[in-house]
Every structure is written in C-alpha cells, then in structure tokens.
Symmetry: D4
C-alpha cells in the first residue's frame, strides 16, 4: 500500500467483471487492507465472489478485505451527519477512518435547525482530534461545529437537496465560506476522501508512514 | 404613495443633479414620506440642499423626508446582522421598516461561530412578528434563527466576503436551502426590499392599505 | 410538533420501507398532524398501509394524517399558478398552508402573457394576507402581482421550462430581481416551504406558537 | 455601407486618437451615414474635431454624420424603457433605428410594477411594426408586451440592477424564457444591435438593400 | 386564437390523457388552427385518436389540426439547419411558420466548416424576408449568414453537442455575441418560438391581426 | 481568545479609524495575541499608532501584537508557494501558523512545471505534520505534493491568473478534485484560514485548548 | 475526404438505421477511409451489417473501413491516459491518429499522484512530435507533462469524476490554465478531435493535403 | 532557457522594481533570449533602464532582449485577428512565435461577418504550418478557418466584447465546440501561450530542443 495506508479501488465506472478481477488479485496480498468504494450491489457480488469473507457495508457502498479493521491508534475521529440522507456519505467517511486505523464515532441527525441536538454533543466534539461534518442543502453545520471545538473540521458537502442546492454546490460554497476558522472542505459526496484525511490528521504523532 | 407606503428613490445610477431635481419635487408632497436609498455623499448633499431637514443615515445610505417616522403600528420587526460588515445593509432594512410604520430592533454581531450570542437573543426573537437576518460569507445564520422561532424569517444575503463568497451568491444559496422551514430570501444587499417586506408582513391585520 | 406546527416527512430519497416505518410510528401521535411531502406512488402506498385513512393528494405528492385539516385561523393565503405545469408545486403550497391552519385559495393559469386573467383576480389578491406565486420559465408573474397588492408576495420558482430556463434558475433570478418591492423567494419547486412560510405570515397576530 | 445600411464605429476600447482618425476618413464619404457608438466624452470630442457638424446624443453615447437622419420609410419602431436607468440603452436603440431610416417612438418608465403605465400604451404598441423593450433587473416587461401585441418584440436586457441581477444575466434569461411567443433577444446593453434589427424588421417590404 | 394566430399546446410535461382531452375540445373549434408541439409518440396517438385527420410530423414532434396550412401571405421564411442533428428543431420552426401563414423553405447541412454549402445558398438568403438559423455546438452559422444578407436573422441555438457545449449554452452565447448586426436569439431548442417570430416578422405589412 | 488561539481582526472592509479603535482596545489585553489580517498601508498605520511595537509584515498584510510569536509546540507546518505571485497569501498562512504556536517553513517557486524543484523538497515534505500548498492558475501542485507525503495537505487556491482562471475558481476546483487522497481546501486567497487550520492539525496531541 | 483526411461519422444522436444507411453508402468509396465515432453496440451492429470487415474497437466506440490503417508517416503521436477510466477517450484519440496516418503509442495510468510512473516515461515523451494527455478529475497531468517535453501538448479533459468535477469542467479549466507553456485544449471527452489535431501537428512537413 | 526556448517573465502582478531587478539579472545571460510579457508602461521603463537596447512593442506589452529575433527555422506561423480590438493579443502571439524562431505573418480584420476578407487569405492559410486565430465576441472565426485549411488551428479567445461575451468565455466556448476538426484552444487573452505553442508545432522536424 502506498505510504502505509490501505489501497482503495473506486468501483463506480468499472464493470463488475473488472472489479472482480481486481478482487481476485487482492487475494494474493493479505498483508495490505484493500477498500472497494462506491460499490453497488453488482460490484459487491463480484467482490464477494472472489473474497467471500470481505466486510460489506451496503449503505456506504464499501467493502474491505481482510475484513477486520486494524487496532486503533492516534486520536478520535468524530463524524457528524446533519440529516439521515447524509448518512451513506457519512458512513463512508466513518468506515474509511476506521480501516485506516483510527477510533471513530458516527452521530446522525444533528442539523442546525435543531441546535439542541448539536449542543448535546459538545462533550464528544471536544474529545475529537478531528471532526468530519457531512451536510447537504444549506451546509451550515460545519460553521456551527467549528465554533464549538478547537479541533480541525473537515467539511463534507453532500448532494442532498434539490433546486438551488445544485447537487451539493450550495453546501460546498457555504463550507468554503465558513465564518469560523478551522474548516476545510473536500469534494461533494467524497466520504472516502474525508475519512482518509481525517485519519491522516488524527494519526499518531510518531510513526506516520511515508 | 402607491398603496399607502412611502415612495422610494433609488439613487445609485442617478446623478446628484437628477436626485436633486426629484428632491425638489418631493417638497411639494409633504403628506407622503419619501425615502432616498443607496445615496452616497454627493446624492445626500443634493437631497439636503432641497430638503434641509431630511433625516440622513450615512451608514445606511438612506435619507427620509419628512424626517419623522410614523408612529409604529402592527408587530415587531427584528433585524439581525451576523457581523459588523453586514451593518450598513441591516440598517437599511431596519430604517425602511421603521419608516413604513413598524417598531424595529436591530442587533449586531450574532454570527453562528459564536452561538451563545444568538442564544442570548432568543427572547427577543420570540417577540418578533418577523425577523430579518443579514449575513454574508456562509450565510448560515437564517437557518439557525428559523430553528429558534416560529416567526417568518427574511434572509438578507450580503456581499460581504471574498473568493468563493462570489459577492453574496454563496450566502444567497445557503439561505435558499435553509434546512429549517420559514425562510425566504431577497436579493443580495437589498436592505430596502427586506425592510419593506418585513413591514408588510408585520402590518396590522386590518387597515392594510391597498 | 416543533413550535406548534405539523411535522413534515420529506419522502424523496427515502425508501418506501423507511417511509412506512415512519408512518407506523406516526400512528402513535394522533395529536400532531404529520405531512408526507414529495411522496411518489410507492411512498404513498407505504404510508396508506400504515395509515389507511390518511388524506392523499397524488398531484401534489402529499399525504396528511390525521386527514382533516384544522379549522382555519388567521388571514387568507392565496396561491397563484402561472400555468398548468406549475400546478403540482402550487398545490403542495396550497395544501401545506391549509394543514398549517390557514384558509387558502388556489388559482391556476394566470400567466403574464394573458394579463386579463391576472387583472380579473385583483379583488381576490386584495383580500389576501399573503400571496404565493408559482411560476416557471420567465418567472415574471410575482413582479406583476406585487404591483397589484400590498400583501407580501412569496415567489415560488418552478423547474417548468427547458433550455435557458435552467431547471428554474431563470425564474428564481427573475423573482430575486422583482422590480416591485414586497417579493421574497424560496427554493425552486419548494411548494412545502412556500406554504409553510405563507402560513406563518398569515398566522393570527396572537397565539403564535413558539 | 455594407448592404445599404450605415457604417458603425464601436468606440469603446478604441483610443480617442484612433476614433479621430476614423472620423477624418469618414469626411471623405458623405454619401454614407456613419454612426459612432459607445462614445464617451473624449471620443465625442475627437469625432467633433473632425466632423464639427456631427449630431451628438451624449446620453446614448452616439454620434452620427451626416447629422440628418434619412426620411423614414417602412413601419414604426416603438422602443420601451422599463425604468429611467434603462434610458441610455433605449435611446441608442431608438436613434439607431431612426438613422437606419425608420420612424421611431421612445417611451420611458413603463415597468411591470405599474401595469397601468403599460396598458396606457396599448394603442401605440398596436401601431408598431416591431417593439424594442429595454429592461434590467427582472426583465419581465417583454413578456407582458408580447401578450399585448402581435408585432415581433426585441428583448433588450440591460445591466441595470445589482446582486443577483448579475449585470443583466437575470434579465437576459427572463427574456429568453418569455412565456408569450414572439420575443427574441439581443446581447445585454446592445442598444445598437436592437435598433439595427428593428430597422431591418420594419424595413419596407420591397427595396430592402442587399 | 389570440391575436389571429394559431393556438399552441405544449405537450411536454402533460400526460397523453391531458393532451387527448385538449384535442377533443379542439374538435369544437375548426375555425382556429391548433398546433400540438413537443409531442412524443404517445401524445401523438392521443391527439390522433381525437382528431384522426390531424397532420403529424414525427421528426418535429408537431401535429396540426385542421391539417391544411393556410395559403401563404407575406414574405419568405428561410430556415437553415447547420447539421442533420439540428433538423428536428429546424423542422419545428419551418412548420410553425408555415401554419402561421408564411411561405417557408428549409435547407439542411450548411455548417460553417463547409463554407461553399452556405455560399451556394446566397441567392435564397437574399430572397428571404427573415432567416431562421438553427445550430448547435459552436453556433457560428448565424454570424456568417447575417454577413451575407440584410434580412433579420433569428438565431435558434440547439442542444446538439457534448461537453463544453453545455446543452446549447455555447451556441446561445455565440449567437448573442454575433459579430454581424441583425441577429437576435430565442431559447435553446425553441423551434416553435423561432417559427412564430419569423412568421410575425414576415407578416404582410397590412392586415396584421391584433 | 476563543479556545486558546489568538484573536483575528479582518481589516478589509473596515475603515482605518475603526481598526485604530480596535487596536487601542487590544492594548488592554496583552495576554492574548491579536492578529490584524488583510491590512493595507492605512490600516497598518492606524494599528501602529496605537500599538507602536506591533510586528508588521506588509507583504502578507499582517500585524501581530504582542509582536513576539509563542515558542513553537506541536509538529512542523510546511507552506509551499507555487510561484512568486502566490507569496503574499502563502506568507499570511505561514505567519498565522507561527503566531498560533507552530514551527513553520515557507518554500517558494516549486510549481509543477519544474518538477525537480518539488522533488528537491521531498525530505522537508516528509518531516511536515501538515503541508499548506498555495497555488493559482492550474492549482495542480497539491495533487503532486499529496502523492509525495502521507501528511495532510491543505490546498490554498489563490486568485493568481487571468481569463479562465476565474479569480481562483480554476485552482479551487482542481484542488477539490485532487486525484491523490489527503487534500482538503480552504477559500480562495484565505491564507489566514489555511494557517489557522494547519496550526490546529499540527497542534500537540495533548493540551489542545477548548 | 475533405482535405485528404478520413471522413468521420458521429453516431451519437443518430439512429442505428441512419448509421446503417451511411455505412451502405460508404461501401461505394473504398478509396477513402471512413471512421464511425461514438458508436454504441447497436450502431456497431448496423455498421458491421453493411461493412462486415470493418475494424471495430468497442471500448473506443470506433469503427473504421477499410479496416487497415495507412502506413504511418510524419512524427510520433504519444497518448497518455491519467487513469483507467480515461482509457476509452484516450483510445479514441489514439486510433484516430493511427487512421489519419501517424504512428501512435498509448500509455495508461500515469496520474500525477504517482509521479514515478510519469517520470518513467520521459524517454518516450521526448521522442514524441506531439503528446495527447487525457485526464479527468483534477486534470493536472498536462501541466506536468508540458514541463518534461518541448513537444506541443494537447490537453484532452475527460468527464471522469463526480461532484465538483462538474462533468469535466474542472479538468478543462485546469488545462486552460496550465502553468507550463505549450498546452492547448479540446472539448471534454473529444478523443476524436484530439487525435485528429495530433495527426495534423505530427504530419510530415511536406505533402500536407489541402 | 528551459528546453532551448526563451525565458518569459510575466510582468502583470509584479512591481516595476521587481521587474527591474529581473532585467538586471538578465543582462548577465545574453546567450538566452528573455521575453517580458504583459508589461505596462512602468514595467517597460524598468526593463529599458536595465536593458536600454531591448526591443519593445507597446501594443503587445512585450519586450525582448537581446532585441534581434533568431533567424527563422521550421514552418510558417500565420496569426489572424478577427478585429482591430483583438490586435494586441494577436501581436503578442505573433512576436512570441517570431522570438521562438519561426517565420510569422499577422493579418488583421478578417472577421466572419465579412467572409470575403477571410476567403481572400486562403492562399496564405494554405502555406501555414499552423494558424493562430484570435477572436472575441462570438469567437466564430476558428471554425471557419479550420474548414479552409488542413493545418492545425490554435484558437485564441480574447476578452473583447461586453454583456454575454463574459470577458471571453463566449469565444472560448465557441472555439472548444468548433464544428470543424483541427482546432484546440488556449486561455483567454493568452497570446504568449498561443505563440509559444504555434512555434512548437511549426518547429523543424529535427533538432527540437528537449
Ligand atoms: N435599495 C433598493 N433596492 C432595490 N429596489 C429599490 C431600492 N430603492 C428603491 N427601490 C425600488 O426602485 C423604485 C424606484 O426606482 P427609481 O424610479 O429608479 O428611483 C422604487 O419604487 C422601489 O421599488
Ligand atoms: N415548443 C414550445 N416552446 C415554447 N413555448 C411553447 C411551445 N409550444 C407552445 N408554447 C407556448 O405555450 C403556450 C401553451 O402552453 P400550455 O397551455 O401549457 O399548453 C402557448 O400559448 C405557446 O405560447
Ligand atoms: N484573512 C481572513 N480571512 C477570513 N477570515 C478571517 C480573516 N481574518 C480574520 N478572519 C475571521 O474573521 C473574524 C473576525 O472578523 P471581524 O470581527 O469582522 O474582524 C475572526 O474571528 C476570524 O475568524
Ligand atoms: N503572458 C503570459 N501568459 C501566461 N503565462 C505566461 C505569460 N508570460 C509568461 N508566462 C509563463 O509564466 C512563466 C514565468 O512566470 P514568472 O516566473 O511569474 O515570471 C513563464 O515560464 C511562462 O511559462
Ligand atoms: Mg473551531
Ligand atoms: Mg422557524
Ligand atoms: Mg406589492
Ligand atoms: Mg405578441
Ligand atoms: Mg445582415
Ligand atoms: Mg498524500
Ligand atoms: Mg513543454
Ligand atoms: Mg482544418
């Protein structure tokens, strides 16, 4: 694996056959964790045919092999999802961080329209080494969270919404303009990227693979 | 005045001479309040030459004649400004509502990065018949406010910010996608429009002029 | 229900199973009205399986339970649809206002290309406490209506049109730039939001729930 | 002149010296009318130095030489300006049509927010062979006018407005999506183009130069 | 029919049942020509069930009843299509002009990449009272045509192309910026609008219906 | 200071007088570091009048008081600038990280057009706890850097460039789509935000202020 | 064939029947190579029914008849694909160049995230007369390649990616802003255009057909 | 010079002092040609102070030292400018090609609105090894030129135009969608890039520096 982290296979745009061939090759390298991301049902079937004991999270569209995530090191990665519709992307981030070796907690339905639900989580936020915040529509949650914690916040805009949500652009722009410092942003729906980055940020100070 | 409300003269794009001529004509109609909006220093001088006792708020770029606002009727208009830079636009909304006959309160520096400042105002928000929320950059404040009150919220995006704020587009999109119901939006920096609308919403139930 | 208004379940993006589970839970809370919005045929079937006596408007994609709307209080909500294609969104606004406790009238096919149809409705417009105007394509109707009434106008841009209509963006921009004051705008096709806001604006002066 | 119409010199982006040199050359061709468009004060001075008897309309930024427009032939060109700020562009259209040989009438301040002002002009509209409609902000006027006349309507969007007017894009889109048939559109602020096209449309049936 | 022209029924977005009901009503008004535009196979079947002798052009998605176009009056409408893919939209323009009472000629495959094909048509272009030019991709043909004729040119951008053609936006912008005067533009793929406008431009000088 | 970090005063959009007043108030709080960002020459003079010993970096438009940065703790923040024109923004990031308590190194002119200059810095990159990469135009450098290190990369798009650089949008999009994982992005030209975030990422594992 | 190069038939948007008719006509002209581009399975079947010995590359969606490419003349065309998903478009470019008479080499999976893979190809790059670089997502590869060779680089942005990749716009903008000189760009996914252009650039100095 | 070509110093965004310092350093390397691009009057003065015999073209904003261009080798570079306003950018391309060692001819005012002017140049076009076509507004000229020659065409969009020209975006899109093959595009107003690329394309087959 490049730089000590798992390999990731991006399944969207590949045929199940192509993904199946990659999965067969992966079987030869049990020392490296491989993640299959954006896997639909057919991709998953192809992976499981080659790697029957792979871990599979259908909501997140993610498979992992070997199935057991590493023992966690480094700091805590907290993943917040503003609404239930943001959950698949948030799970992708959460599981990626977990398979990259971090402890991770996932909390759902903490949108800014119900502030008490955010405020109820302040203790958790303050234990985090990094917080990933998935939100679509107005994308306002990272601004609020960044004001409540000194940990870095990874804004994860989702394509949830319609009309002037423009497939996640509105949320993306909101997060780029967050009025509290300490927020950076990844691509729309890029749960894998957010989880990967969070794992890097929360990596143990020493022993970072290069 | 059309439909019982003041006349408004939009000064931007008019020469001081043109505005001066309008002001001279206004002198003949003391029964109708006239607002001069988006007036820079030269516009203001031209108005004051013709109407020396006009009220003038340089920050808001607004002049009014006759200078005294009407006695307030109807409900309370609360205007929130997320940051100090949003103040000129917020004042334009506040004064417009006041000259259209409403009681109005203006509160500044209640951005979502410091939630306690918003939460400290919940009592005021709950007394409002309508809340105007001026915010630039991430434009996240209306979402939070709408979650705290059952009054209608008028989102007033401002051009405050830089880069991907795109002169207020980011804030505009955020507000259009507010995840709490009860938010509608006016044009970027349109303090006059927000104040006018708020005055209409908070108008006394009977006696609305048509 | 938050702040005294019905709960709304946004069905788009949820599976019929998920919606069905929510409907089953709703059965336990007959004291609160629940609206299911953006429900397609399968969502509707799932809701009706759990709540057989729910009211269902297939055009608007809306279900309500308990089925009877409350007795109306407050002012009149008038909803205009520029063309027949704007009708589903307009109905969603109309029914939402009705279930939030307002009297509401819906008028269709009053586009600006046939001014006489608009002018024939001036009496109705002047009885309204608030007017919701649904229009796609050029989105010009709210400008015309705002010039005919002193009630606040909620612009509801629809995605009706093609080419440079850009899925409702053209109508949205038109409404944001309405040359008559008193217009604000909600997201494209957001009939629920427009109806909710209209109900808040037309709420009885006292007794607003907080 | 190409195809029997006047030559036009677009001054914007040329130095006064360049424009002056062209004006000197024009003196040699008194048989062809030459228009200088988008001429600021310095351009105008340079033209007038070479052609002292040129006609000059500073508001429209237009000069013409020889100064007398031709006797009108063909049909009537009506030019409407929605607001006073649209006047410079509307005058450019009006004068261009006039110098291309058409009778032309210019009417100002007939925005859709005051429908009675439009309706008061229906007789004039019905005498027109073609109507040019200049409007900024919401650009809604052409839709209304096209519903009132069977003459072709040339939509002339202007850059009047701010915020989400986007320098005329909002008005341009509105006009492209006009819900009444019979509207076409030229570039933002392109008064010369609108006037030229109108003159072509209203040209006498025979004797069109080729 | 409003103002003496045929009625048009825009089928896209209507169900076959709705269109069938309109067609049945149309049967009662044989004195007015009715056009059904954007009709797919199912829409067409519904129309033909009610109006078995309606004229039907499947390529253009157009039906007309009564089926015979009026005897032509006024000037000639020439419709050019840059490529074969622009043909459906061009036919819609051509047939609309024909049913609105004009003589019309349609010429295909005259793109600017093969100038000789355009130049071979100069005689036809010079006989036209108005030229409709349908083009996608670079949308360059109207600029070339406008340089070859003194007739007004109606630019009809089509959604033909991919990538940076942006569904017709590239062609639309090209036409709005045509470097020859005398070009105006209608919405992307709006063959009906272009044909309607062309018929108005080429209408006989007298006897224009109002 | 909120959460243990310095206060920042954003000078752009404030008058020198306003900034001067803030600086005078700051004098009362020597225990908290205050940064003045986006300060032009006049802002700087106003700050220095009140705080004569403030540190001032004119290129970065930054002032700090008290002038001495804290002793560094935590990991190393490396800041790369693709070209000399990116230097002001990169210095803003570098100094912000330094005043928030991190060791920081700044390297200039390592654009991807000269890969050897990037490759010559691999050792430094691998010592970094976080890398900030400032780049305009194509914004390609973060993709390359992320492939060379396992540290998190903060993409800092700058407005350097012209034409289709769109004031930094091109660089912003490039970075959001970085083909190597481990990149997140802040707003265009937001050196302060990048430096603040980098300081948070490189904070010592314990003792993070909350 | 126009100007000595093969004819190309763009199948997308044509029915299999239309394509089949063209293929039948092509059989009469064996002296000219004809390429069928963007051919899906049904298009291919229609071509092969008329021209059974046509060469067919399903990945590239390309058929050629007569099937044998000409003997290569001129310089070497190197085609690089950043990732496997860019392969179909890259193959289209590669085969087009080959059928237009050039020697061509295709290299896959040389993205900037793994610089060693690019650097391993420097020898090949330096033998090229022109390099086509296909890349989606961040589109950063052409900038890197242009820094490694003095041959002209044809940037071929692909629609590979999601979210803020905007269907290839991000890659397109990156390439237009390449910080190394010597890069030009064709339309998104336009493998045919890139291959055609490359063949023209690498044409033998003499004997270019006109 | 990297890869045997001149060095280029991009003056825009540099102070005259910075440019002067670079010019002084350049004096030490008379064996390499250095170009100063985008130099305004002050930049030019600073360069000429250090290098008094530098060649200076104020229109193109270009200086070169040593002043004499190399003896031309390779093929002919033809540069076309659609209008006079495109001349500065076209001259930048022309001179860059000349200083990179190519023969180059520059032709102005050959816009598509006057086809005869283009057609009069066909002989020159057919002698070219590569054609650079500078055009703003509709950007239609490259499509026409590519249909007339088998040489590769470099589209050079300029920011000439207003309104929906969007500072060159309209021309850029037109060129990306050119309906004739053989066109690629550089950034808006990037005369240097176009000339550099043209020189690479027209380079002598052997002896290309690497
Ligand atoms: N600040 C403002 N923003 C938007 N519209 C305004 C503003 N001030 C006045 N208006 C509107 O512009 C109209 C007056 O425009 P004018 O006749 O150009 O002065 C008024 O009737 C208002 O509706
Ligand atoms: N293809 C078309 N494109 C744009 N507008 C159309 C089209 N066909 C009909 N229309 C317009 O749409 C109106 C009818 O719309 P509807 O009542 O929804 O059928 C007609 O009066 C026309 O003005
Ligand atoms: N250069 C900058 N860019 C973006 N945000 C900044 C910058 N400098 C300061 N800030 C933020 O703006 C806030 C201060 O804004 P203000 O109260 O208007 O001075 C600080 O808390 C920072 O979070
Ligand atoms: N007019 C220009 N437009 C775009 N890039 C340029 C221009 N002039 C020079 N360059 C590029 O910018 C680099 C020099 O940038 P700099 O070091 O900032 O002077 C050169 O290597 C060129 O590749
Ligand atoms: Mg924080
Ligand atoms: Mg609320
Ligand atoms: Mg009104
Ligand atoms: Mg009409
Ligand atoms: Mg013409
Ligand atoms: Mg990395
Ligand atoms: Mg190179
Ligand atoms: Mg060619």
């Amino acid at each position: 694996a490049r730089r000590g982290y798992p390999e990731a296979v991006f399944c969207a745009g590949k045929t199940p056959e192509q993904v199946g061939r990659i999965a067969a090759a992966v079987r030869e390298r049990p020392d490296v964790t491989t993640l299959f991301t954006r896997a639909d049902d057919q991709h998953a079937a192809a992976v499981l045919a080659a790697l029957p004991d792979a871990a599979h999270d259908p909501d997140a569209g993610l498979l992992a092999w070997p199935p057991a995530p590493p023992d966690p090191t480094g700091g805590l990665v907290v993943v917040l999802a503003a609404g239930t519709s943001d959950l698949p992307v948030a799970r992708e981030a959460h599981l990626t961080a977990r398979y990259l070796g971090r402890e991770s907690e996932l909390v759902v339905d903490v949108g800014v329209a119900g502030l008490h639900r955010v405020l109820a989580r302040v203790d958790l936020l303050r234990r985090a080494r990094v917080v990933v915040v998935a939100a679509g529509m107005d994308g306002a949650l990272p601004s609020v969270v960044a004001g409540l914690t000194s940990a870095p916040v990874v804004g994860l805009p989702t394509s949830v919404g319609y009309g002037a949500a423009f497939g996640g652009i509105a949320a993306l722009l909101t997060m780029l303009n967050a009025c509290a410092p300490g927020v950076s942003v990844v691509n729309i729906d890029n749960g894998y990227g957010a989880g990967h980055l969070a794992a890097q940020i929360a990596a143990p100070q020493d022993g970072v693979p290069s």
